[in-house]
């Protein structure tokens, strides 16, 4: 920790504390494929890593620069399309695949500089509307400019036709994952460092109070433009990685829906902390792939989670985690364990019960007539049997009622965990 002696403060000294998260991150990226090496798992982890790059790049705008973009998938998608064209070009045989994301990055940067030159004139609603309009425009262009976007089929290519890189041809999934993980690490580190540069600091200042920043010698518009361009660069890198992983780019990579997803991911993770979007991307891809396999209704659940987060926990998952910092520094985290078990756990069980009911209703309406069997939470259930409804009804009602009843206990424990104990008065 920093010493109180200001005159001898070692500015910018790199301490173990600042490096530790990065070392842990690198170890996780290195070890994960060894622990989970199946093709499916590697693909999911690769997809997550790409989303993390995209989410961090998006948060350079939203969290750090205060710009709400509804069309940011454009920059990632354009990177993707360009990289696929490179993969299809005759000179691809002399391009090592690992540098391809950089090409995507520079293309994203170029597009962002062109669009940013007018869209960053203001933040707020005008910026948001321009980004939305451009997002729609680009999606329409996909079907119009067939030469570049390939129409409805999109553009596809083969990653293994590049110049072998020290003998690697990136045919196997694990090689692709490590390539993506490398770029994830480099991009995340660069984006983190960017937030510590003069222009990165001023991005925060302009977000908080653009007018005041102008009276300190900075053009709010230039500061926004630099952030916007940098964000476009990293989006383009994510696009290049996506081209390598999926070997295809289509309209769905840059349309407004894709832009909505990244906004959702970043909000879910939390805009207020650098690492928030990382959590958001990991959780979202998990929900999409794992929950998506279990139920057709996964998007409904994700939507409800999103709305609940925005309404009750605007700081996102990172905000929820960091709200425990005070209790932790006071050494009172233990006070929360019991109420979490008696209140939050029943709430979760109750909500799962509710989900069971929803799934049964959905099954009754959607399944072919006569088919009444379904699998819910790994158990076979007959939806035409009253017992199934009763059991899930009781779980849902019981869990939620118990949680409600215990909520005052939780609140009390929370308050207590977040107040500094005043030492008991000494007897006189």
């Amino acid at each position: 920790m920093s010493t109180a002696n200001t005159t001898n403060r070692a500015y910018g000294a790199i301490t173990l504390g600042t490096l530790l998260p990065w070392i842990i991150g690198a170890i996780i990226l290195l070890v994960l494929p060894i622990l989970m090496g199946s093709k499916g798992q590697l693909t999911i982890m690769s997809q997550m890593s790409i989303m993390v790059v995209f989410a961090l790049a998006y948060n350079m705008l939203l969290g750090q620069g205060g710009m709400l973009s509804f069309g940011h998938a454009v920059y990632m998608g354009m990177g993707s399309f360009l990289c696929l064209h490179v993969m299809n070009a005759s000179y691809f045989g002399s391009v090592p695949l690992p540098i391809l994301p950089l090409i995507g990055g520079f293309f994203g940067l170029g597009i962002a500089m062109i669009i940013g030159s007018f869209s960053t004139r203001s933040a707020g609603t005008i910026f948001a509307m321009i980004s939305l309009g451009l997002g729609e425009l680009m999606a329409a262009c996909v079907l119009i400019i067939v030469v570049f976007f390939g129409g409805e089929e999109g553009i596809s290519g083969y990653r293994d036709e590049g110049l072998p890189f020290f003998g690697l041809e990136f045919i196997s999934h694990i090689e692709v994952f490590y390539l993506i993980a490398f770029w994830l690490f480099v991009s995340a580190a660069l984006m983190f460092l960017f937030s510590r540069t003069p222009v990165g600091r001023m991005a925060n200042a302009v977000r908080d109070n653009p007018e005041r920043a102008q009276f300190l010698g900075y053009s709010a518009r230039w500061v926004r433009f630099v952030s916007f361009s940098a964000s476009g660069f990293f989006c383009g890198i994510a696009g290049g990685l996506s081209a390598i992983l999926f070997e295809i780019a289509t309209e769905s990579d840059l349309n407004v829906t894709a832009s909505g997803v990244i906004l959702l991911i970043v909000f879910l993770g939390g805009v207020g902390f650098f690492w928030g979007p990382i959590i958001g991307a990991v959780v979202f891809i998990l929900l999409q792939t794992v929950l998506g396999l279990q139920t057709h209704l996964w998007e409904l659940y994700v939507g409800v989670i999103f709305v609940a987060m925005v309404m009750y926990f605007p700081g996102g998952l990172a905000g929820i985690i960091m709200s425990h910092a005070v209790a932790m520094s006071l050494g009172k985290l233990g006070l929360l364990v019991r109420p979490y078990l008696t209140c939050v756990l029943p709430a979760i069980i109750g909500i799962l019960g509710l989900c069971g009911l929803i799934e049964m209703i959905f099954h009754m309406r959607e399944a072919p007539t006569g088919e009444t069997e379904m699998t819910l939470f790994w158990t076979a259930i007959d939806t035409h049997h009253i017992w199934a409804w009763l059991v899930f009804g009781v779980i849902a009602a019981g869990g939620i009622l118990l949680a409600r009843q215990q909520s005052s206990v939780l609140k009390e424990a929370w308050d207590q965990a977040n107040t500094i104990d005043t030492p008991a008065e000494e007897p006189s």
Binding site: T6, R9, Y11, G12, L193, F194, R196, T197, P198, V199, G200, R201, M202, N204, A205, D208, N209, E211, R212, A213, Q214, F215, L216, G217, Y218, S219, W222, V223, V226, A230
Partner: protein, 251 residues
């Protein structure tokens, strides 16, 4: 030329209402100049015109002989003019230290750099610590500026204004809403940090004005009705009538 600031028939209308009605003023380099006048006289508007917050309707502002017409606030700031605001205007979500450090960046030549780490520059960080020391906010260093008390935020407002080392400093009612002790403290601070600089200050507290200012201008209904040393202004017949009259109207 030793003029720091010169106003030449400066005018401003909002719609059909002419709020600033032809200001002429010369402020010498190194002078401490106070602007007094009743509420609504146009003092803040005059500041906004000089610093580029609003465009003037007609007339000219010259800073060290350079015409400022058409320049943006950030361009004017880079020419060496810095201002504070009557209504506190800080970066509420950033820490106090970060507020001050950001105010130093441009003047220390960092511009839009994305290849320097702010935490690694000794001069920058020590400069920011020094300003914190001067405005007595070292103990609040790592708090978000938004949670400071009113008086502390006013001190930070001044800190941000003077941090960049501009040689013309404009303060809009720096002591408004402060207790006597706080006022004394701020006035001392202003005297200390504006040494050898040109100061233009809007102030209501006559004690402060007569103690601080080399010269005073009286602004009433968008016009400067008198300019001079404190003694000259105090004994001016027009000022007695207009300012006293207006002050009575106010209450």
């Amino acid at each position: 030329m030793t003029l720091a600031l010169e106003l030449d028939d400066l005018r401003k209308s909002f719609g059909s209402a002419e709020i600033i009605r032809g200001l002429n003023l010369k402020v010498e380099k190194g002078e401490r100049h106070a602007i007094i006048g009743p509420n609504g006289a146009g003092k803040s508007t005059m500041f906004n015109l000089i610093t580029g917050r609003f465009p003037q309707t007609s007339g000219h502002v010259r800073l060290h002989g350079t015409d400022l017409t058409g320049l943006q606030p950030f361009q004017i700031n880079r020419l060496g003019l810095s201002r504070s605001f009557q209504i506190t205007n800080i970066f509420p979500k950033m820490t106090v230290f970060e507020n001050v450090r950001c105010s130093l960046l441009w003047s220390m030549g960092f511009k839009y750099s994305f290849w320097n780490m702010v935490s690694r520059n000794r001069a920058l960080n020590e400069g920011a610590e020094e300003i914190l020391e001067q405005i007595n906010l070292t103990v609040r260093r790592d708090l978000p500026a938004g949670v400071l008390s009113y008086a502390e935020q006013r001190a930070l407002e001044i800190g941000i204004t003077i941090a960049g080392g501009a040689d013309v400093i404009m303060l809009d009612e720096p002591t408004a809403g402060m207790s006597n002790t706080e006022t004394d403290y701020i006035v001392n601070l202003i005297e200390k940090v504006t040494e050898n600089k040109t100061l233009i200050v809007v102030e209501h507290d006559m004690g402060v004005v007569f103690g601080l200012a080399d010269r005073i201008s009286v602004l009433v209904y968008g016009e400067i009705i008198a300019t001079g040393t404190p003694e000259e202004v105090r004994s001016d017949q027009k000022v007695q009538e207009a300012y006293l009259g207006a002050a009575l109207e106010d209450h």
